[in-house]
């Protein structure tokens, strides 16, 4: 039965109270409360890493919270797995679908169920599933095989799986991230008809426009905490939401010398590229970075920032436009060519790209230096020199490890990042491309990374700094570009940048009105 905390209004489908979820080194959810009413679409808004998905994974039984309690339809629950959650009428559609490509829609819906025990009479189930889909406004052919379906249709199969299992609460984790605009419209119509039929929906997103369109209420999270709980979306402007989401905190002041830009080092012109999903990820990006300048790129993850770094360093082909480094055309040249031109790269994926986990620290430190003397002597590698080189870097960058023969995978996140920075800085960079350089690091390591990046600026290298941490970008950069859906939608001198406006641009709002923080701006969708 609802307790006295229940606010007046429709009954609650879900009530989460004081949820705390810790991961090693991270407090992902810090005493979070969350309410979902019956028959509403409730948006959960926040930047990447704000703790939205974690909170919903707790609700779905994937994670067990360190503390806190959960009530579903008035009953205290403690889920040990998503199977328990679905039994209580609660299901989640993740960003990565769990479908068997070679099987039909019907087979995928029935997978894991006790009935039918043998594959008999699937046709009868086809009809049953087609009927269920129709009732919820989902257009689907139950006999189609998954690989024949578009991403939007596959998402419908995931929703259908949950509905077939009797879900009355649907959790959708960034459902529009994989959808084309028309598909998103169709999804919104489906969700609307489902809540009209009495279902309840949690809609995780970081796009303000769609949140305003689809959600009845919004809960905003930032750094593991709720900054706005269940405010009605009708009475809230996107500018207010943007500020709640991005926030503004007093930074530890970072000492920066005056901005003395030199000649242009990196020049990117109208660059276009295709992302991993086969969709355009960069749609005509142009920018210049000068020697002694840090250009920060802000944006919500997945708007083309990673692809920009990959195209500049030669790891991803571009489909249009050009890139020059110190005047040399390096468009679509292999990584070797950019390395030779002293382009250093601190990649986003430290363990998968930035290091070889099962090789030694020494082997990892020479990744950019092994071709040239003094490490290389013609065909051979001078192992004595490798040892001295690695020991030198380990000492000056304070990489905490028993020896340079230790495997890189044994390093902590901060030490691994020190290793990567040591290696990249040792390559005497003219251009430094740093992607999420402090993600997941502790305060001390973050300070080290910031200090090293600023020292590079001082030394006259150009820096492309890509980070989802807006405070970091603002603190380090001279100029700041905002990326949204593969384009640069705003370029500012950091001194004149306005957080509310940047937040709005990051989330697809327009910056036509140069609004003061807090003053409502009309939504442009």
């Amino acid at each position: 039965m609802p307790d006295d905390l229940t606010p007046p209004g429709p009954p609650l489908a879900v009530a989460m109270r004081g949820i705390v979820m810790r991961f090693p080194g991270v407090l992902a959810n810090d005493r979070v409360d969350f309410d979902l009413r019956v028959g509403e679409v409730h948006a959960l808004l926040g930047e990447n890493g704000a703790g939205k998905s974690t909170l919903m994974n707790v609700l779905d039984g994937l994670y067990r919270p360190d503390s806190g309690e959960i009530t579903v339809f008035g009953e205290r629950v403690e889920f040990r797995s998503p199977r328990d959650a679905i039994a209580a009428g609660l299901g989640m559609v993740h960003q990565h679908f769990a479908l068997v490509p070679t099987q039909t829609v019907t087979e995928n819906v029935l997978i894991g169920l006790d009935r039918p025990r043998f594959r008999i009479d699937l046709r009868r189930f086809d009809d049953e599933i087609a009927d269920l889909a129709r009732r919820h406004g989902l257009t689907l052919d139950p006999r189609a095989r998954i690989w024949q379906l578009s991403v939007g249709e596959q998402q419908r199969v995931e929703i259908l799986k949950l509905l077939y299992r009797g879900a009355r609460v649907l959790i959708l984790d960034e459902p529009t991230a994989v959808l084309a605009p028309q598909e998103a419209d169709e999804l919104f119509r489906t969700l609307r008809s489902m809540v009209d039929g009495g279902a309840s929906v949690v809609f995780i997103s970081h796009k303000l426009a769609e949140v305003s369109r689809i959600a009845d209420r919004v809960t905003v999270m930032r750094r593991g905490k709720v900054t706005a709980a269940g405010i009605p979306s009708a009475g809230t402007t996107t500018a207010e939401l943007a500020l709640l989401m991005v926030g503004r905190e007093v930074l530890e002041t970072i000492e920066r010398t005056p901005f003395r830009p030199g000649p242009v080092v990196l020049s990117v012109r109208e660059i276009e590229a295709i992302g991993d999903r086969g969709l355009p990820a960069l749609r005509g990006v142009s920018l210049d970075i000068r020697s002694g300048e840090i250009l920060g790129v802000a944006g919500v993850a997945g708007n083309g920032q990673s692809e920009l770094a990959q195209v500049v360093t030669g790891l991803r082909p571009s489909t249009g436009g050009s890139i020059t480094v110190n005047g040399d055309d390096v468009t679509n040249r292999p990584p070797r060519e950019t390395i030779r031109r002293h382009v250093a790269h601190v990649p986003e994926d430290r363990t998968g790209v930035g290091s070889a986990p099962n090789l030694s620290i020494a082997d990892n430190l020479i990744m950019k230096a092994y071709r040239d003397p003094p490490i290389a002597r013609r065909w051979a590698i001078d192992t004595g020199m490798v040892r001295r080189f690695a020991d030198g870097l380990r000492e000056s960058y304070e990489i905490a490890a028993p020896s340079v023969e230790t495997d890189a995978r044994l390093l902590s996140g901060g030490n691994l990042q020190r290793l990567i920075l040591a290696r990249e800085i040792a390559s005497d960079p003219r251009l430094m491309v740093a992607v999420q350089p402090t993600r997941g690091l502790d305060v001390g390591a973050i300070a080290t990374v910031h200090r090293l990046l600023l020292a590079q600026r001082e030394a006259g290298s150009a820096t492309l700094l890509i980070s989802e941490d807006l405070d970091e970008v603002l603190g380090l950069s001279d100029r700041l570009a905002v990326m949204y859906e593969g384009r640069i939608v705003g370029l500012f001198d950091v001194a004149e940048a306005d957080v509310a406006e940047i937040g709005l641009l990051m989330t697809g709002g327009s910056a036509t009105a140069h609004a003061e923080p807090g003053v409502p701006t009309e939504l442009v969708s």
């Binding site: 919270p65 360190d66 503390s67 309690e69 205290r76 403690e78 040990r80 328990d84 039994a87 360093t313 790891l315 292999p334 990584p335 070797r336 390395i339 030779r340 790269h345 990649p347 994926d349 998968g352 790209v353 930035g354 290091s355 070889a356 986990p357 099962n358 090789l359 082997d363 020479i366 990744m367 950019k368 092994y370 071709r371 290389a376 065909w379 051979a380 590698i381 192992t383 230790t406 044994l410």
Partner: protein
């Protein structure tokens, strides 16, 4: 509520045992452990084999002693063991080089046959006129064996590097192609009087044997060890240098651990795949060359008792270490030789199989610490 206290929960009841086995991932592997587990695994394998022998009605101790004597008991049999080990060292190196980069070359057998064919072609086509001195013929045959084996190895390399074709399937299938290719030549163009073998090579195409020196040193009389062993040992040293000390070796290690990191470091991954496959094929081809020039002195159909396949086990047991390959190859040469002495002849194959199984199983000990815990009541 406090953390971790299970509340009312609709889960299924589990059957409770009084203890549980837990595997904990090892963070650091002590230096001595890999060698110790390998030795332990071999001991376990021998014990298991002994049990099987005993069940079959044999005396395991006597059988093992007999096997040892048959392979290491006298200079003569030691020499025979080393002759068997020679092609295993080279094919084992071929597999080790490829496996280091996580290229699963299952085609050393086919590359071995193609190398044997290429070497034979030098004297059978013939490429060199009859009576060409050995000092020219032998190096030419080595080059031909490596070239044909290497080219044959490059096929799966090119397919994988540029078309993403699975190398396991391709190398496996190419083994059959190579066997049929050799069969065609020994049955057809090179057949001697319609038999499925070629004429004997001229003496200039024979690798020198220790017994050749018997005239001056009588002890060497009857010893079959041939110059191929020297070639194999030199190859082991060179491969070790390549893997440990060279730039190419560094790239191979890097790609083997993380192709994405290698690309990030500016390594041309596709090119390395082709190069390493060609090198692997060349080593296997060289093995084929030493076998036709050092042992049988002609090309024939049944030239390999599966050296290319045993090589996979040899490389694996050696943990892809070139010097380890030499040791493992000698051990397997001994098992092959002892197989002739033991009835039924399936026993050595069984021992090989059990050794491989227990080695694979021993990996668990390397990666995990095994804990047995009493379950709290």
């Amino acid at each position: 509520m406090t953390a971790g206290v299970p509340a009312r929960h609709p889960g299924r009841a589990r059957v409770a045992l009084p203890w549980t086995v837990r595997l904990e991932r090892r963070l650091e592997v002590p230096r001595w452990l890999p060698a110790a587990t390998t030795a332990g695994a071999v001991v376990v394998a021998l014990v298991v084999s002994g049990v099987v022998l005993a069940i079959a009605g044999g005396d395991p101790i006597a059988a093992f002693v007999h096997m040892l004597r048959a392979s290491f008991g006298s200079p003569g049999v030691i020499s025979d063991t080393l002759v068997k080990a020679t092609p295993l060292i080279l094919t084992g190196l071929a597999c080790a080089v490829a496996f280091r980069m996580r290229l699963w070359n299952i085609g050393a057998e086919g590359q071995f046959l193609m190398g044997a064919w290429g070497a034979s072609a030098v004297v059978l086509i013939p490429i060199v006129p009859a009576g060409t001195p050995a000092i020219i013929t032998i190096p030419l045959m080595m080059a031909a064996g490596m070239l044909v084996g290497g080219a044959y190895g490059a096929i799966p390399g090119i397919l994988k590097a540029f078309r993403g074709v699975n190398e396991i399937i391709v190398t496996l299938m190419l083994n059959y192609v190579a066997a049929l290719w050799v069969a065609y030549w020994v049955f057809g163009p090179w057949s001697e009087g319609g038999f499925q073998l070629t004429p004997q090579f001229p003496k200039e195409a024979w690798l020198p044997r220790l017994s050749d020196l018997a005239a001056s040193i009588p002890t060497f009389s009857g010893l079959t060890i041939h110059f191929g062993l020297v070639i194999a040992l030199v190859a082991a040293v060179l491969v070790r240098f390549l893997l440990v000390r060279s730039r190419r070796g560094y790239e191979i290690r890097l790609i083997g651990d993380s192709p994405r990191a290698a690309r990030y470091a500016g390594v041309n991954v596709a090119r390395n795949i082709v190069i390493v496959f060609a090198l692997s094929g060349a080593l296997a081809g060289l093995a084929g060359m030493t076998e036709v020039t050092g042992v049988v002195h002609r090309l024939q159909q049944a030239i390999s008792p599966g050296y290319g396949f045993t090589a996979i086990i040899v490389a694996y047991i050696a943990k892809l270490n070139p010097y380890g390959v030499v040791v493992a190859a000698i051990a397997f040469g001994a098992i092959i030789l002892a197989g002739r002495e033991i009835q039924p002849s399936g026993i050595p194959a069984m021992i090989q199989g059990i050794v491989l199984f227990s080695l694979i199983a021993s990996e668990v000990v390397l990666r995990y610490r095994i804990r047995v815990e009493r379950r709290a009541a």
